[in-house]
Symmetry: C2
Subunit: 236 residues, 2 copies
């Protein structure tokens, strides 16, 4: 529980609207930070993620929620932003082999850069991102060595970092947790997972497919945590 | 002169439309790269820079020119994106003291991140940015240590970097040159500086003020190079 007598510090939380970033925001709140939520609209093929982000930010009492639009889809190169099919029904060993087509080039670098600018303007030294190196080991920009390198950039790139008024720290509270551990942690912290959106290939009404890699990992995570997933799936 | 028998490699050039980035693009071309120009519209207060970028890209024979829009102005925090007055008529010693109000939080980190995504998609290992640590020593994200740290991020963040298909290199050909040296180099390489835009506070028709820090440095640079500046100024 947060200590209400302690002054709270601002933190920027990258909030996609997914399960991981919602849990990350709840961890930040529990650690005594005020939540300044930041969603980056990088040209995802559907808008349900951003709606979920808004709902999650509200439910966690965020001080503010900013959405920054940037058209990474203009470059293509990913199933999440270009016209490439999202793979479905892949077996677990195939999911964990190599870098998936849902990889968006330089996504986390772009998102952390924008978070850095926002953090500097509001005077926040702390940036939270819900990357995870266990279930999604295929994404290079989810690994601890990438995060450490970016933290160094943050402190060299900014007026606040160079002048020493802020020492930037990139928090990755989920980086070594399994999906089941993330879900248990979130439930302890009161996250309402009904508000979150995970699916890469939802139908026109936002209903999750249950078959893409992201859905499969979520379903497996809830099963392993011994908890019921509050969202509905189309094909399961 | 480029060797026309050698196969040319693609490079991403961050092109603002200013004098430095135009010279940088010309250097890249002279070094045998095909120019894939990238302009980032980060909510600058005027659009003349982007028009200049388009004209410079055309004049240098760029293979393509992409403009990516991102609304950094939403955060404020800079005279270039928010409603803060651009300083004018500052003496040289004041210009070189500390970090100017025209500093845009995390600007070069954001721009290099976007360039990195673009480079990965088109298979370019080389990214050029016209930062300069001599005349603009006030900007933390123009220093060699920042560039080196970002280069490390680039190779850790990307599929191509991790799989070893591309070894990213951030080129900063102007970083140790004075403005006069930059101009002389550009003239040797055939840059048409009439197409470039430098002023932080142009009038409604795009005419440069001649009094902001950027104009003053440009005017001084041409004078020291012993060359005529082809653009007009309002107040000089």
């Amino acid at each position: 529980m947060p200590d209400s007598t302690k002054p709270r510090k601002p933190a920027v939380i990258l909030l996609s609207g997914g399960l991981d970033s919602a849990t990350t925001a709840a961890v930040a709140r529990a650690e005594g930070f005020d939540i300044h939520a930041l969603s980056v609209d990088y040209g995802q093929r559907h808008r349900f993620e951003l709606e979920s982000a808004r709902n999650v930010a509200n439910s966690l009492g965020a001080v503010e929620h900013r959405i920054v639009k940037i058209d990474l889809a203009a470059f293509g190169g990913s199933a999440l932003t270009a016209d490439i099919d999202v793979p479905k029904d892949r077996p677990a060993d195939e999911m964990s082999a190599g870098i998936p087509v849902t990889y968006v080039p330089a996504r986390n670098t772009v998102m952390l850069s924008i978070a850095l600018g926002y953090a500097e303007v509001i005077g926040a030294a702390d940036i939270f991102i819900g990357v995870n190196a266990v279930d999604y080991s295929g994404y290079p920009d989810c690994r601890p060595e990438f995060i450490a390198a970016f933290e160094q950039v943050a402190n060299l790139a900014t007026k606040a970092g160079v002048e020493g008024t802020l020492k930037f720290h990139i928090h990755t509270p989920l980086i070594q947790l399994t999906k089941a551990e993330i879900i248990r942690r979130g439930v302890q912290l009161g996250v309402d997972y009904a508000l979150t959106h995970t699916c890469y290939a939802p139908d026109d009404c936002g209903v999750s497919c249950g078959r893409c890699d992201a859905c499969q990992l979520r379903i497996k995570g809830f099963a392993e945590a011994g908890l019921a997933d509050p969202i509905a799936y189309a094909d399961v």
